[in-house]
Amino acid sequence: MLILECPYCGVKAEETELAPGGEAHLKRFGPGSPDEDFEAYMFARKNPKGVHFERWRHAYGCGKWFLAARCTATLEVFGTYPAQTTEPPADIVAKIMAKRPDWKGYK
């Protein structure tokens, strides 16, 4: 039962208020895209033990989607940020780098 802070309304929301949305920063591939790209978009997920980026929706709160960076092994949360971005914000990346020096980056 995680607690994640919604970056829109500022509420420290318990997991029962949130709906999970899987891995963040996926790139959509539409009609005409190669099979490998579409397959990766639909099915390939990192599922790391360690630093991970996820989509969450404050479903029983403000209704907004946001993204969270956390460690799947220790449940440490590095930060949450609005969903309207294609890559993690620099301050969160810096925070992760500081705490997990051997982290290879989100890609």
Binding site: G21, R28, P31, D35, F38, T74, Q84
Partner: protein
């Protein structure tokens, strides 16, 4: 025999006798007794039978770790099996019965298993019940089912109520012994919001029993002062009878408070389940004493040394007159001393250590107790009660040196910290070789959201066992620096003893119990090791060690030490099994809380619900909605009612409460562009005032929802979804708008509950609306697939000419608050035109007669619109829509796909639900091939025969073919493939 002493008992009130029954026998205890203490006070040492061998079982422990003394508690609506007598507080009128025996506790046929024990070793099931194959179903399984399980299943509805509550604190301290109290005092004085909970009914834990002195006063007085000080702190909340069941992510803790277990029927909730968010958790959960593994260590009368001390000091109960104490540490001497000082006999203390020094043994010797160093128990003798012990050298193989008569044995194999709350959420353990136990490694704690330590242990849970160390450790855990000083005797080091005597022969090892409840012995674990079970987790499952209701609180460390020895591996390398919540069982009632009966889940009702109830509607669940299935009249079956409703709708006019239909407004400059991505067809070019049927697919291309879209104005559309799909589709829209196309200017609003929507359906529909009066509802003014705002019978309405039945049909929306009044007006106006309400089953039959698909019947998440002959609703011109790329995958274009057809039997009967069409040959798994299945099947009262839709390989190209289908019972029937539109193929009736 075990008996109540004339004096003493710090927890009992001799002025308040309490009557109770055990197996129908009337017994008497005192207020403050646990059930176990009261049973022992009445010389009831035998309290149950073990699971596998049905061996006689007595009380072993005095707390939550008790594996044996489980009873069926209560009667009727308050019956509950597997209740631990050691944690059950006695109350007047308590009734309980022993478990797992037939016909009686004293004489149990199942004990035959005991004599066959040689043939029932570890893994017996896996080795035995393999051949012959058929015997499993007809012989083995019925016998195993008959003998499986402890206790009985409650038959009546639970008479009690349960509640759940939330709490938040900076610091949650679990355990109300001196460690927990000291941690709470420290944190409380520092101003933290503290919760302190204790699973028993008393503060103070073991210290008062053990005679500890703190800051120069007896522990009992120190505890009293500490509790008073804490009660005076506004920032400290204290709960007795409250067991922390589990710790979870980010400081979430579940705790079960036994509010009224000891006062049943007093009107309070029986349990309260606390859902707590703590900034940090201090586990001051103490330690549990381990048994020693010697032959006959399961015979009633053999108890943990500290438990025997508890019974003596807390409840003035002496489990035996002559007690032999056997130990590998100094602590058990306290029991011998306490027994002796109470005037009871201790014939000998057998200490497995070669040399015995220290304050406590000296005191025992001074009291005249014989202390034998380097000695062990070769065997305990007795059946339903200990009669004597045979003594041997610990270093040997068990040659008997002497036999001593006794009626009880107190054993101590050392102490293991209770690390459950530490381990539940990821805390790691270190092996402490000096004390022979696993203790929390402070360097590897479970982590909180910010990377700090979520759980800290205090006191014995940290692995420190002496009172002075406990208080210092607890003070530090809570961030303090000045700890009270506790004095006590100096204790010599313990010595690990895993098997007694260390070279015991197989005959002895076959009688050394590790897990009392599940009957796992030293020989079983050694057998598992020989058979290749090197992982502790596999050994646990193979032997069932630690899998009983006590979850191995007594047996795990001893078991894995025996395993490690058999594997010649160090203990830390073998490791522990995983600690999982709950710490002790939590009753289902507490987990369900108030969510039972009428408030099991929230129900959604339309504004017209009360009318349906008043008119004998039979309801069916549709998501969380309750919708009328049909409205049976007196003497009618549901089936007859449905048929009447369908025929009346086709011939006169029907009325349907369609308020549950999903209604989502999509608005904004980019709304048209957005809907073109969402639906498979084009919605942006829909004219204002017009309606269009649309399909929505997942990104994989599979059909997900359908409904009619209406264009309201230049930048506003209203999307109808299925009743069950409104919330899901609204969330789906928001996901795409927020996470993919966040620069598009579109707003959505789910207005499903803002409007009541009523369908007026049938040849007389227009007449009914004209009778109401108001807006022009003629074909010219409001043609098929258009909508108009207006006034009708004095109501503001929006009328849609859409049809899910193939009849002339209006769906009319009014504000929800006016829904019931509008419905009543329609009922009145329709009376002269033969209007009747119809329910969801009538709706299904009407749509199936027309070959209209239903999401969830014709679709199952693997069906694309093209499978349902809905290619016409898929735009070929659009560059993109959700699901288009998925539908480009070659396998979805295969001619072998199952496609929608109509199905009918040759004799007009109805094809049963679930029928499938087999095909020749078998698949890779050796199962029969199939070529199709039924998706919707009904009796059509309009056509007076069965009609069905189904998905069949090849689809409409096979119209006219007859295929064989198989019913669920395996019988077959001949089915003809036909067009799925059974009624009014040209669609003339809806367009009038």
């Amino acid at each position: 025999m075990s008996t109540r002493l004339a004096k003493g008992g710090r927890l009992i009130d001799r002025a308040a006798p309490q009557d109770f029954t055990f197996n129908g026998k009337r017994l008497r205890g005192f207020k403050g007794d646990t059930l176990a203490a009261a049973l022992l006070a009445n010389d009831q040492m035998l309290v149950g039978r073990s699971f596998k061998y049905h061996r006689p079982r007595g009380i072993v422990a005095s707390g939550a770790e008790e594996p044996n003394a489980l009873v069926n508690m209560g009667e009727g609506g308050r019956f509950e099996p597997n209740q631990r007598t050691t944690t059950t507080e006695l109350f007047d009128g308590l009734t309980c019965t022993s478990q797992n025996h037939f016909p009686s506790l004293e004489f149990d046929i199942g004990v035959l298993n005991n004599y066959a024990a040689r043939f029932l070793p570890a893994g017996f099931y896996y080795k035995t019940f393999i051949h012959p194959r058929a015997a499993w179903k007809h012989v083995f399984e019925p016998i195993i089912r008959q003998s499986a399980g402890l206790g009985k299943v409650p038959k009546d509805r639970d008479a009690d109520r349960y509640e759940q509550a939330y709490a938040f604190c900076d610091l949650l301290i679990t355990g109300g012994g001196i460690a927990g109290l000291q941690a709470a005092l420290t944190a409380g004085k520092a101003g933290k919001r503290v919760w302190l909970m204790e699973q028993t009914a008393h503060w103070g834990g073991r210290a008062p029993v053990d005679g500890v002195e703190i800051d120069g006063t007896p522990a009992e007085a120190w505890v009293k002062n500490a509790v008073q000080a804490l009660e005076a702190m506004e920032n400290v909340t204290m709960r007795l009878r409250c067991m922390a069941a589990g710790s979870y992510d980010h400081g979430y803790v579940l705790a079960d408070e036994k509010v009224a277990d000891h006062t049943p029927g007093d009107g309070r909730p029986r349990h309260r389940l606390w859902r707590i968010r703590a900034g940090q958790i201090i586990a001051a959960t103490g330690a549990i004493e381990r048994p020693l593994s010697f032959a006959g260590n399961d015979i009633p009368g053999v108890m943990l040394a500290a438990a025997m001390r508890d019974y003596l000091v807390n409840w003035a109960v002496a489990p035996g007159d002559r007690t032999v104490v056997v130990t590998n540490n100094d602590d058990a001497y306290r029991t011998a001393i306490a027994l002796k000082e109470a005037g009871l006999e201790v014939p000998v203390i057998l200490d497995a250590r070669a040399t015995v020094t220290g304050d406590l043994p000296a005191k025992a010797r001074a009291l005249g107790i014989r202390v034998e160093a380097g000695k062990a128990i070769a065997k305990v003798k007795g059946g339903k009660r200990v009669t004597s012990v045979a003594i041997c050298a610990q270093a040997g193989q068990g040659a008997v040196l002497e036999e001593i008569a006794c009626d009880a044995v107190a054993m101590s194999g050392g102490w293991s910290p209770v690390v459950h709350l530490w381990s539940h959420c990821g805390g790691k353990l270190n092996w402490d070789a000096a004390q022979a136990h696993f203790a929390p490694d402070p360097a590897r704690p479970p982590l909180n959201h910010d990377g700090s330590a979520l759980v800290v242990t205090a006191g014995a849970a940290s692995g420190v066992l002496l009172a002075g160390d406990v208080l210092a450790n607890a003070t530090a855990a809570a961030g303090g620096d000045v700890a009270p000083v506790a004095s006590g005797p100096v204790e010599a080091a313990m010595e690990p003893v895993w098997v007694m005597p260390q070279g015991a022969t197989i005959d002895l090892r076959m009688k050394m119990w590790l897990d009392y409840q599940n009957d796992v012995k030293v020989s079983d674990v050694q057998l598992a090791a020989r058979e290749g079970y090197s992982s502790v987790e596999h050994t646990k499952r193979y032997t069932t060690l630690g899998m009983a209701t006590d979850q191995g609180k007594l047996s795990n460390i001893n078991g894995l030490a025996v395993l490690a020895d058999s594997l010649s591996s160090p203990i830390p390398q073998v490791g522990t099994t995983t600690f999982r919540p709950p710490y002790t069982p939590v009753t289902f009632g507490a987990l369900a809380g108030e969510a039972r009966g009428d408030i099991f889940q929230p129900l959604r009702q339309t504004p017209i619900h009360a009318w349906h109830e008043a008119h004998n509607a039979y309801f069916e669940p549709v998501g969380l909605w309750r919708r009328p299935y049909c409205y049976p009249r007196p003497g009618e079956t549901h089936e007859q009612a449905v048929h009447r409703e369908v025929v009346n709708t086709r011939t006169n006019v029907g009325l349907l409460d369609a308020s549950t239909l999903g209604k989502i407004i999509v608005k904004g400059p980019d709304a048209g562009k957005f809907l073109d991505m969402l639906y498979t067809n084009v919605m942006s070019n829909l004219g204002i005032g017009k309606c269009r049927y649309g399909l929505m697919c997942s990104e994989q291309g599979f059909l997900s929802d359908d409904g009619v879209v209406a264009r309201i104005d230049e930048d506003t559309w209203l999307c109808h979804t299925t009743s069950g799909g409104a919330d899901r589709i609204h969330a789906w829209m928001e996901d795409w708008l927020q996470c993919e196309w966040w620069d598009w200017q579109v707003y959505t609003a789910n207005v499903t509950e803002q409007f009541a929507q009523i369908a007026v359906v049938g040849p007389n529909a227009r007449k009914v609306l004209e009778k109401l009066g108001g807006m022009d509802v003629s074909k010219e003014a409001l043609p098929f697939m258009q909508w108009a705002d207006g006034e009708m019978g004095g109501f503001r309405v929006r009328a849609y000419r859409i049809s899910f039945s193939g009849e002339l049909s209006y769906e009319i929306a009014v504000p929800a608050s006016e829904g019931r009044a509008f419905w009543d007006a329609l009922v009145t106006a329709g009376a002269e035109f033969g209007m009747m309400p119809y329910g969801t089953e009538g709706l299904h039959v009407l749509r199936a007669e027309k070959g209209f698909i239903m999401i969830g019947d014709e679709t199952d998440g693997t069906v694309i619109p093209q499978d349902l002959n809905l290619g016409w609703a898929i735009s070929k011109k659009k560059a993109d829509y959700l699901g288009k790329r998925g539908q480009e995958r070659p396998f979805l274009a295969s001619p072998d796909r199952w496609k929608l057809v109509g199905l009918e039997t040759l004799d007009g009967s109805v094809i049963p639900d679930g029928s499938i069409a087999p095909a020749p040959g078998t698949n890779a798994n050796g199962q029969r091939n199939t070529q199709g299945r039924v998706t919707s099947t009904y009796y059509s009262p309009t056509l007076k025969r069965g009609i069905a839709m189904g998905l069949v390989k090849g689809g409409l190209s096979r119209v006219g073919e007859t295929i064989e289908m198989t019913r669920l019972d395996g019988s077959t029937l001949q089915v003809k493939i036909v067009d799925p539109v059974f009624y009014d193929k040209e669609g003339e009736k809806q367009n009038v």
